[in-house]
Symmetry: C2
Amino acid sequence: MDDDATATEIFRKRLQTARDAREVTQQDLAKKTGLPPSSISHFEGGGRKPSFDNLRRLANALDVSTDFLLGRTDEIGTISAAKRLQADLDRLNAYDLEIAEKFIRVLARKDDSSPS
Amino acid sequence: MDDDATATEIFRKRLQTARDAREVTQQDLAKKTGLPPSSISHFEGGGRKPSFDNLRRLANALDVSTDFLLGRTDEIGTISAAKRLQADLDRLNAYDLEIAEKFIRVLARKDDSSPS
DNA sequence: CCTTTAGTTGACGAAATCGACATGTTATCA
DNA sequence: TGATAACATGTCGATTTCGTCAACTAAAGG
């Protein structure tokens, strides 16, 4: 389970998805990461896997988590809203945390029925 | 800014920290990941950086995010309050998100002054 | 003293990514 | 038709990690 062969396949799609979400071309991403455009293409099309350093560059340039690129989480925006709230949420006691969760859940349901 | 040389250094410490937090020896981690024990030592002590596949193996075996191992986030605990709220937070519009953040911040300050 | 366990360090060839570059395809637009 | 842009594909030597192995040090226990 959790095969390495499929991990490469997943990464290919994740990189495409992330780049598409950020609406940048391969050339744009190449400039942002400092990598040659052919490397981006090799990642998305060929069987190449990024090195330690290049994985970080890709994640930073696309503003996505490396866990997303590696397929370890399905949420592309993991780093934004939740991370900003993390520090404050960690300071809450159990009771207030429950209150906060309910409050947010109410807001979420409201936004679902009448989106911005 | 955001140097690659220091990234390797950070990874070394993060791996040690994570392994220490999970209370496993290098040999234990080696078995869990299927890597030779010397590789673990090379990661923590030497200048080696893990490949794409081995980074995933390490993160899975230690149950930490790859973002933590790479130093892109400071939180080792994958399961936090923020992650539980992620789904709801993603449904909020910008305005309500701001409200939620302020609300939580108020609770956090209150809990700091009078802890549970 | 001996044994075991944890960890370090260095070396080896094999394999993979590296950056660089050349070439081809496909689509869009003038 | 020609030009340009986005992307694919493949090759080159260079670099790096790969797994494996050997040879240590150091600490803990009998």
